[in-house]
């Protein structure tokens, strides 16, 4: 998946998570997720999403670096 499509997909997922975790009706079900749970999810997701971006950037660097080395010879 190219960079633009990946970005679009990520934005769509964040949009969805924002609604489904933080909006909608909150009922006192027998089992529910708490506000603390939601906050922790966001922290974890943010870390994951930055690491996805970092991996993408690092992958690009890894591909380009050998070419640059060739150029310097």
């Amino acid at each position: 998946m190219n960079q633009l499509a990946l970005r679009e997909k990520k934005i769509a997922l964040l949009d969805l998570l924002d609604r489904i975790l933080d909006k909608g009706v909150i009922l006192s079900g027998d089992i529910t997720i708490s506000v603390a749970d939601v906050d922790l999810i966001y922290v974890g997701l943010k870390a994951l999403l930055s690491s996805v971006e970092t991996r993408e950037r690092m992958r690009k660097v890894a591909v380009q670096a050998p070419l640059e080395l060739l150029g310097k010879r």
Binding site: Q3, R7, K10, I11, A12, L13, L14, D15, L16, L17, D18, R19, I20, L21, D22, K23, G24, V25, I26, L27, S28, G29, D30, I31, T32, I33, D37, L40, I41, Y42, G44, L45, K46, L48, E53
Partner: protein
């Protein structure tokens, strides 16, 4: 003692149409007085169990059975922190509601609402019946649309003369200067440009929200999701200046889109980007009376 193995995961509440048939996946079924099972048009959060409805008078809870070893309180709290699990379940939840949204007025539940038995679901429906009926009436024939507006600071800095008289004048002044004087004037220009960019962004956000609200039944401004801005692309600085949700009557959607197109025309030349998402189940518009037992009122925080 009976060991509980399953719970009922609740996706949302739907209204039974006036002719008494609940349409699911394009086929009509007679409105049931007890639970009936529908073909699995969309997998629920556990593909092993079909999506069902539980009725109470003229409203339905859209549910599916879930194993408590995965969805029980402790298991759930653990699984919530597995991003792959969370993404899969969240998408499944949404696809169930998307299917229902095409045909029914819906009140979406937040993720992870589970009851331990059918009768517990029925109790909840009975308890919240009046609020649900009022909310469903308010939402009937309307859909939620999300509009996000992005500003590109690089473009705005380059084109400041186009939207700022002050910047234009300063640039004209600098043209005749050189050396140290030019440097100082340039610094002044940078300050003015920064302030003018803020001004034009506020104007664009406010104008967009006001004009779109005029075509909506209800609207709300939210802070960017998860403090999210668009990821930087190619070294540009892009920021989200508006994250709005709009409840639009189906028959007004054309007017809404036309209004948006007109706004885009005004602001595209300055590099503002407009992103539409939807239709959504009305997550942002389901505030329920907090007088009902067992319901918490969910308030949206203005940006």
């Amino acid at each position: 003692m009976i060991t509980q193995h399953y719970g009922y995961y609740v996706y949302g509440i739907a209204k039974i149409p006036r002719d008494g048939n609940l349409r699911w996946g394009g086929i009509s079924y007679p409105a049931p007085s007890e639970e009936i099972s529908y073909p699995r048009w969309e997998d629920g959060v556990d593909p092993a169990y079909p999506v069902q409805t539980l009725a109470y008078r003229d409203i339905h809870a859209i549910v599916s059975k879930v194993p408590l070893e995965e969805f029980g309180q402790e298991a759930l709290e653990t699984n919530l922190h597995d991003p792959d699990w969370l993404e899969a379940k969240v998408r499944a939840h949404e696809s169930v509601l998307d299917t229902a949204l095409a045909q029914h007025t819906l009140i979406p539940m937040r993720f992870g609402t589970i009851f331990l038995s059918e009768s517990r679901v029925q109790e909840m429906l009975a308890r919240c019946y009046d609020d649900f009926v009022d909310t469903l009436a308010r939402l009937e024939g309307k859909k939620e649309w999300g509009i996000k507006v992005y500003a590109d600071d690089t473009v705005l800095a380059e084109r400041s003369a186009e939207f700022s008289e002050r910047a234009r004048q300063l640039e004209a002044e600098i043209a005749g200067k050189s050396g140290g004087a030019a440097y100082l004037w340039k610094k002044k220009l940078d300050e003015v440009v920064a302030a003018e960019i803020e001004r034009i962004c506020d104007e664009c956000a406010e104008c967009t929200h006001n004009r779109l609200s005029s075509r909506s039944e209800e609207s709300v401004v939210n802070s960017p999701p998860m403090g999210q801005d668009a990821p930087p692309m190619g070294g540009r600085t892009v920021e989200m200046i508006l994250n709005g949700a709009y409840l639009v009557a189906d028959e007004c959607f054309e007017a809404f889109r036309t209004e948006l197109a007109s706004i885009e025309e005004n602001y595209n030349a300055l590099g503002f980007g407009f992103h539409v998402s939807g239709p959504w189940s009305p997550y942002n518009f389901v505030q329920v009376s907090n007088e009902s037992v067992g319901i918490e009122r969910k308030e949206n925080c203005p940006a």
